[in-house]
């Protein structure tokens, strides 16, 4: 299913992994090629800005585009650390992609901002803050982006109900809706 271009991309990613390990040593952990053929590495929070800068500027890699910045919530008590902040980088020159996963613990939800390395991280980090509640230290303007600025709660977290926090959606005097039980998330 993967074409030659993708195979080349995978091997470019794997050689990037070897060079990364050589350059950054322990800052880059658990390199693995995920099911889409993309090299994914775990990076410690303290090292993420250095790693991003290295990947962007080193002429061996040239991952000059931040394709996506997002977060994954594994659920309270399901995994330690509970959250992963995931950075997806693209090297147009080598047609290669790489993913960094920064583990974030529950109760200690912050990560340094990547806006100094990739300006487009600005809105992407705001969205992660808005929907997941992870703060980005040093962000120029960390405020909600999708939801109203006075909203309470972070909807993409696993404990947030699918139908919404009832404080926002219903007034206290509204009757309990009859269909509530049918829309239970797993």
């Amino acid at each position: 299913m993967r074409s030659t271009a993708a195979e080349q991309a995978t091997s470019a990613s794997e050689s990037a992994a070897r060079r990364l390990k050589a350059l950054l040593g322990d800052a880059v952990q658990e390199p693995r090629v995920e099911r889409d053929g993309v090299l994914t590495v775990a990076v410690a929070r303290e090292a993420v800005i250095a790693v991003l800068t290295e990947l962007r500027d080193n002429p061996d890699h040239e991952f000059r585009v931040l394709i996506d910045l997002t977060a994954v919530d594994y659920g309270h008590g399901k995994r330690t650390p509970r959250f992963d902040v995931v950075y997806s980088l693209l090297s147009r020159r080598d047609v290669a992609r790489i993913r960094l996963a920064v583990g974030v613990d529950e109760g200690d939800e912050w990560v340094p901002t990547a806006t100094s390395v990739y300006p487009c991280a600005n809105w992407l980090e705001r969205e992660v803050y808005d929907l997941m509640g992870i703060r980005f230290d040093g962000h120029p303007d960390l405020k909600r982006i999708e939801l109203p600025e006075d909203y309470d709660g972070h909807p993409l977290r696993k404990e947030f109900p699918l139908r919404g926090g009832h404080r926002q959606v219903r007034r206290p005097e509204d009757p309990e809706p009859h269909f509530g039980h049918r829309f239970r998330a797993r």
Partner: protein, 403 residues
């Protein structure tokens, strides 16, 4: 009265006062509910701050409560002008997680439907962009052509706007060759002359050129910093199209060119999209001429429903059908992101599976959202009218911006 000016008078005299203007969220030219806070010095834009979220419906959370095959219906509603490209991006990611092969026939039909969706999206873009600039008739011409695509979608999937026709593993059902193929063939025959008409109306039109040339400059370096992809990137001289560089779904087997220009302005983005429509027609013709026969969905029985004709007589087929519809399938734990070239730019779904039958996390990489962040860079120093031209030429769809 004191010998020195009061504080307020001093401010007025020493600094130019700027005016803050709300553009939107209800506005005919923002292509949806987009709010832009414009700081103006007279008619010149000093700063533009887009505010999004008016169409936010929590789609990424919805995926987590649905089975994998049910997720396709949500993907239609994001970039609703180009539903099949979203379907395809989602299905490719799920197929990467599952490790299933898609048969050739399904891959070719997927390419055909993606290119029809691309033309669909570009026709709406052209009609609304021209409408915003003032060439109102274009809207009617483009929607007249688009009607043929919508009828083709209706023939193949039963729905015009939100077909949800693809499913992880292939297509939901085989194409209805008697109805669908003739509709696509007649559309492919009709559109080239219409595109020539659009070119005659707009491309050398002095008003069109005056409104678009040199407006909304986004250089290649800015595109890189702000992760701009798609026709806007290719108007800045960067030759990167995911269909060519990282081919998926048999795109490598088709001959087509990718328009690249280096004017970095709205005019070159316009020309790029016009050429992309012609190239999409080329791909559609090649698919129609070479469409292989065979299965429309993978043979993998964990994913594919049993054939409908045996459901009435075979108990096990009935149970199998019920099991997949009711319980879905469970990809092994892992992550997948398969980039695709949508009409707006690179779109992909980052799906994390925890081994259960519902995804742990589905993240849409939304090109329109990312391009809205680049809008201020393109309009600083322009006039208010240029903001309208720029929004149109970046082609956002608010369903994708806000999800």
């Amino acid at each position: 009265m004191s010998a020195t000016l009061s504080e307020e008078l001093q401010t007025v005299v020493s600094e130019k006062e700027t005016m803050v203007l709300h553009m939107g969220p209800q506005h005919p030219s923002t292509h949806g509910v987009l709010h832009i806070l414009l700081t103006l010095d007279g008619e010149t834009v000093v700063d533009a701050e887009p505010e999004v979220g008016f169409l936010h419906t929590g789609m990424e959370k919805l995926f987590e409560s649905k089975l994998y095959y049910q997720g396709t219906t949500i993907t239609d509603r994001m970039d609703y002008l180009s539903p099949m490209t979203n379907n395809l991006a989602y299905c490719l990611a799920v197929e990467a997680l599952l490790g299933v092969e898609v048969p050739k026939r399904a891959q070719y039909v997927r390419v055909l439907l993606s290119e029809l969706s691309r033309i669909n999206s570009h026709l709406v873009w052209l009609g609304t962009h021209a409408l915003d600039i003032g060439a109102m008739s274009m809207l009617f011409y483009c929607f007249r052509e688009r009607e043929m695509i919508l009828e083709a979608f209706d023939a193949v999937a039963g729905q015009r706007l939100n077909p949800s026709y693809m499913t992880p593993g292939g297509l939901w059902t085989d194409i209805n060759e008697d109805e669908f193929i003739p509709k696509v063939r007649s559309f492919v025959d009709v559109l080239p002359s219409k595109l020539r008409d659009y070119h005659r109306l707009l491309t050398k039109n002095p008003i069109w050129r005056a409104r678009l040339k040199g407006v909304g400059i986004l250089s290649a370096e800015q595109c890189e910093r702000w992760a701009v992809t798609g026709p806007a990137l290719r108007a800045a001289g960067v030759d990167y199209d995911v269909r060519k560089k990282e081919p998926y779904s048999s795109y490598g087997e088709f001959e087509f060119d990718v328009p690249v220009r280096d004017g970095c302005d709205c005019y070159d983005r316009y020309l790029n999209r016009m050429d992309e429509m012609s190239e999409s027609l080329r791909i559609c013709k090649q698919v129609l001429d070479d469409l292989p026969s065979g299965r429309w969905i993978t043979d993998d029985r964990r994913v594919a429903l049993p054939p409908r004709d045996i459901l009435h007589t075979d108990m096990h087929a009935l149970i199998h059908h019920f099991w997949i519809i009711h319980n879905g399938y469970s990809p092994p734990p892992g992550q997948a992101y398969v980039p695709t070239e949508g009409p707006k730019g690179e779109i992909g779904f980052f799906i994390v599976s925890d081994g259960s039958n519902r995804p742990l996390r589905v993240r849409v990489r939304p090109p329109s959202f990312i391009h809205m962040q680049a809008l201020p860079q393109a309009v600083r120093g322009s006039l208010v009218a240029d903001v309208v031209a720029c929004i149109g030429s970046l082609d956002p769809v608010l369903g994708e911006v806000d999800r």
